[in-house]
């Protein structure tokens, strides 16, 4: 079986016999990471078409992840969320890490993380969120059950079986739509870095915090930047302290001359030609270069949250392809292929929003369908607005997608 088709799961330690393999019947899971197991178990798995391996295969890009969700403050009311630098609830998500891994390697991305040990009884929507958070970014979660759930499942407890059914249905939902992973990510800003060494913190946190403000961006590995198509983008953020290789420099300068905004560290500003121009925000020197411009901070960047915000404003929200309203705990992922696009929304609050969510898109589409993990696709009527169209989404608790077709 090709690695692209493998749907991985970590074999729970408490599942000791082949009988537990029956739990995987009619689920998408077809690759068990089992550590050292008996040949008997492997043979039984093989008969069911399930691959059993000691460790994740090398032809998958495996990264460590975090259990996703809204972080709850200690010592406060249970329903009080901890605030992040945006003032919005702090959200742990693996989306940015999956996108980075995909930018660095053509291998399928698997994300490894286990349920928290101290979370008490985990409801199925926590697992569904874990799967959805990774899937919408184009990866697969190595499904990992906590000991209590795995044991209850092995005992055949009805609630555990029902939970497992929901988790499996979520995996099946995304496998049915795995083609979306290969669509082109939407976003008008390229973030370019080697994402390593001294640059790692700033560059990766920019990705993380850009997601927090629903700033859609293209992740570009510096090693591949010279080949990356910047056409159609509005801005490029070059994060690294070191000057880019000559081909990348030429690419960035050409992008600016063609009308783009290039954002570089203070030390690199002098390398670009151009004439002084007005800056839309305080703290930046901007030079006009051809039809575009180059922006550099007056002081070195030290706060990735501020850098993500600065990049957003230097580019301008005018070029956001998608804008979401009443989505405080919702992260968005957008991709397109030709005239079609898909907007996927993951609601980390795992409950319906008190206020209805609207999605504004800058393009006009002939068709729109709304779907959730459990609801069949249904047509959704666009509402014309000043800067494009909006869609008023029906309530959803955890995940929704807007399928758009026939871009005009």
């Amino acid at each position: 079986m090709a690695v692209e088709d493998r749907v991985p799961m970590r074999w729970p330690a408490g599942w000791t016999g082949p009988a537990a393999l029956g739990l995987l019947k009619d689920t998408p899971v077809n690759c068990l990471i089992a550590g050292q197991r008996t040949g008997l178990l492997r043979e039984a798995a093989a008969k069911l078409g399930i691959t059993m391996v000691d460790t994740p295969p090398e032809d998958a890009a495996v990264i460590d992840g975090a259990w996703p969700g809204m972080r709850i403050s200690q010592g406060r009311r249970r329903d009080d969320a901890e605030a992040g630098p945006t003032g919005a609830p702090w959200i742990d998500s693996n989306g940015w890490a999956v996108k980075l891994a995909r930018a660095r390697s053509p291998k399928p991305v698997w994300v490894a993380f286990d349920p928290p040990k101290d979370a008490g009884t985990l409801t199925p929507d926590r697992f569904q969120l874990a799967a959805a958070d990774v899937a919408v970014a184009g990866g697969r979660w190595i499904v990992s059950l906590d000991d209590a759930t795995a044991a209850a499942l092995a005992r055949g407890e009805a609630s555990a079986v029902e939970s497992w059914r929901k988790i499996a249905a979520t995996l099946a939902f995304f496998e049915k739509r795995k083609a979306w992973r290969d669509w082109t990510p939407m976003g008008s800003l390229a973030v370019i870095s080697d994402f390593a060494g001294d640059n790692e913190f700033m560059a990766t946190e920019v990705l993380n915090l850009a997601a927090r403000r629903n700033l859609l961006c293209q992740v570009v590995d510096k090693a591949r930047a010279a080949q990356f198509p910047l056409s159609g983008l509005r801005a490029a953020l070059y994060v690294d302290k070191e000057a880019p290789p000559a081909p990348v420099f030429e690419k960035l300068a050409g992008f600016a001359r063609g009308g783009g905004t290039v954002i570089v560290p203070a030390a690199l500003a002098a390398k670009f030609a151009g004439t002084p121009a007005a800056s839309p925000i305080d703290g930046y020197d901007v030079r006009a270069l051809g039809k575009g411009r180059v922006a550099a901070p007056k002081k070195e960047w030290d706060d990735p949250f501020v850098l993500a915000a600065d990049a957003h404003i230097l580019m301008s929200r005018r070029y956001d392809p998608v804008n979401i309203f009443n989505a405080g705990s919702v992260f968005v992922n957008c991709a397109e292929r030709g005239p079609d696009a898909v907007i996927q929304l993951v609601n980390f609050a795992r409950r319906e929003s008190a206020n209805q969510i609207s999605v504004a898109v800058s393009k006009s589409y002939a068709r729109a369908r709304f779907l959730t993990l459990t609801a069949d696709p249904a047509p959704l009527k666009p509402v014309p607005v000043e800067r494009g169209v909006e869609f008023h989404l029906p309530p959803f608790a955890l995940y929704a997608a807007l399928e758009l077709g026939g871009a005009k």
Binding site: G87, P280, I281, D282, A309, I313, S316, R317, R318, D320, N323, I324, F325, N326, A327, G328, N355, Q356, S358, A360, V385, E386, R387, E390, H392
Partner: protein, 382 residues
């Protein structure tokens, strides 16, 4: 609507009869029916300005600052209702006002607001809300925006003393835009307010205080470089502004929002006088100042515009239109849990709230009264 749209609409209005200029316009307030933010808006506003004696004598050759109300996070809505139809000043009203003031001779117009918890340019805040700022920028020559929630483009803050010593503060440090202007306009949305009972032309000035000094993230000694958070200091009095700004007069006064917020609003209105007040409720919301107020807010269409040269009098007329009495005070609607901002402004010499001393022009109040409390009560969710 673009500049051509504002121009066309105004040209159509100019053929209408112009009321005689008032000898003393201080307590004159104009009321008009306006059913939409479309072509009827600019002519309606122009008629109102004419009823107030025309804008030429006020703005000709002058720099005008227009404080609009963009409260809260730009992406938060009342259900599916865009901000401008519920809790934000509508961009068409901003554009129409800019156009008419420029037509009356205003030399330079700056749209100002202290955007929630950010130093981002106002244009970007508007874009985040789904607006296109361009029609406002081109509604008249020389229109610009400034986010006044921080220092902005100046080297220092401007200090404004409160006449008669003020209720809570003796003076405020504000963004330079409030000093740069010759004429100051408050363009508000007609709404109730969870803490102050109502939010109209006067309460709109709550947002001129920069969060860099008066916000949750204000520096202890000096203003913070960028604004963070809301103005809970004004509500709760749990801390003082940055040490560079004048502190409260008396930290022993009640630490209660219903006591503090109306007084601070009155102080701000007295410190930075409003020359022209415009309150719009073509569409708005009931029950509170924004979608975050729990308990049955409703999107409504009162279809009314109010304008006056005195903010206290303008707000008094607005209250009458909303089904309230500006002479009422704490314990009576809408001041169930707060003091009356209008009375407190009156005490500082900001104007009169006594309807017997206010000349209401245009459409009679009885024809346009829209009972906010009844509207909320009749809401399916309320």
């Amino acid at each position: 609507m673009n500049r051509r749209g504002f121009l066309g609409a105004a040209a159509a209005a100019s053929i209408l009869p112009v009321p005689a200029r008032a000898a003393s316009a201080g307590a004159k307030v104009s009321v008009a029916r306006c059913g939409s933010y479309g072509p009827e808006l600019t002519p309606a506003l122009e008629r109102m300005f004419d009823q107030l004696g025309g804008m030429g004598s006020l703005v000709k050759g002058k720099t005008v600052a227009m404080k609009v109300n963009l409260t809260g996070v730009p992406t938060v809505r009342l259900g599916y209702v865009p901000a401008e139809l519920a809790h934000w000043t509508h961009p068409a009203v901003i554009g129409a006002t800019a156009h008419l003031l420029a037509k009356a001779g205003a030399r330079h117009i700056r749209v100002v607001e202290s955007a929630w918890s950010t130093a981002d340019p106002l244009e970007e805040v508007m874009l985040e809300a789904g607006w296109d700022p361009q029609p406002m920028l081109t509604a008249a020559p020389r229109v610009e925006f400034e986010n006044t929630n921080w220092l902005g483009k100046a080297r220092k803050y401007s200090r404004f003393q409160v006449p008669k010593g003020g209720h809570i503060y003796t003076a405020f440090d504000l963004n330079h835009s409030y000093e740069d202007c010759d004429v100051f306009v408050s363009i508000a949305k007609m709404k109730e307010h969870a803490t102050a009972g109502i939010t109209l032309a006067m309460k709109n000035l709550f947002g001129i205080a920069p969060a860099a000094i008066y916000g949750d993230g204000a520096g202890k000694d000096e203003p913070s470089p960028v604004p963070r958070g809301g103005r809970n200091m004004f509500h709760q009095g749990h801390r003082q502004p940055s040490g560079s700004a004048p502190p409260e007069k008396d930290p022993k006064t009640p630490r209660e929002g219903g006591y503090r917020v109306p007084r601070i609003v009155a102080d701000l209105v007295a410190a930075r006088p409003i020359h022209l007040s415009i309150v719009e409720a073509i569409e708005t919301m009931t029950h509170g100042e924004g979608p975050w107020i729990p308990g049955g807010s409703r999107h409504v269409r009162p279809g009314v515009l109010v304008a006056g040269l005195n903010p206290v009098s303008t707000d008094a007329v607005c209250m009458a239109l909303m089904g309230f009495d500006a002479m009422d005070d704490r314990g009576k609607a809408p001041f169930e849990r707060c003091d009356n901002t209008l009375r407190l402004g009156e005490e500082l010499g900001a104007g009169t709230r006594d309807m017997r001393r206010i000349e209401v022009l245009g459409t009679p109040i009885r024809e346009l009264r829209f009972d906010f409390r009844r509207a909320t009560a009749s809401s399916p969710s309320g």
